[in-house]
Symmetry: C2
Subunit: 156 residues, 2 copies
Amino acid sequence: MKLEEEIKQEKFKSEHHKLMINLLFTSSWLHRLQLSVLRPYDLTPPQYNILRILRGAKGELLSLGEITNRMIDRSSNTSRLIDKLVIKKWVSRKTCSNDRRQSEIGITTEGLQVLGQLDGPIDSITEQFLFLSVKETKEVNQFLDQLRNQNLNQTI
Amino acid sequence: MKLEEEIKQEKFKSEHHKLMINLLFTSSWLHRLQLSVLRPYDLTPPQYNILRILRGAKGELLSLGEITNRMIDRSSNTSRLIDKLVIKKWVSRKTCSNDRRQSEIGITTEGLQVLGQLDGPIDSITEQFLFLSVKETKEVNQFLDQLRNQNLNQTI
DNA sequence: CTACATTAATTGTATATACATATATTTGCT
DNA sequence: AGCAAATATATGTATATACAATTAATGTAG
């Protein structure tokens, strides 16, 4: 369905305005898709994001701040998210000995196993994007990167 | 900054995978932009969305379900959001006399006033999109509409 | 070396979503 | 009419974000 039908709005003020709403709407849809894949594994999207970041670090331990910097949603409350992952034993956290304000966070073997099981299902979400050519995909990526670099966003 | 720099990830598995992350990341950025504009008016994005829907109805009263259908975020808990807007006196709600299960919800004069004050600031967010040509904007819109209509999403 | 600012992380509280369940009303079947 | 199914909304509880404030450790200026 076109966005107009989805949200029952006959027309938008401009094509640009529609694009803004479309981005938010589509991302909400994508978020629900993620949820449905992660739910059987007792993971939420931000928790999954953290596990992916830690796996990507290839054994290197990361501080909480470093994880936050790498997250898709910057406003995540990483501290409490890590708490929950530690309880599930998918993540380890200990105080950094050099700087005792920091913590050293890593993914456990169990955490890696859960991620492994999820790789397939998550890839199948990515496959939804394959109807776009690589060239088109690059163009949309470039557009999004540019969008975030207009004047106004300096203030955010 | 390119997404790679934003989330400190050197490279993505594919351009399509980057696009998926980019959509989520950019929408989160857009969300924070909205928050910063709405905050001085004591509104949140979903509450603002509801006011916009009611203004768009041009005086027609809408049921709670109808509002939900028109929202950007379908999983919003409209019932409790309306509660808060009623408390602020920006929205009115009464039981529908024909079908007492439904409610008839409308925007108040005060609600319209708040919206009026916000039109400028919100438009300035939309202006961030103007660096794209109308043709390109249409293409991205079409892409997003198509994306949501691949096989998998039937299940969601 | 002490006092003050800075930094890293945690915590408190309000708002919102996710999902299941409950309540009230209406519809439809016999 | 009587009763089950369907519909519209509300509520309970867990998770997460938003923003402010706090705590603990470190850095630094004098």
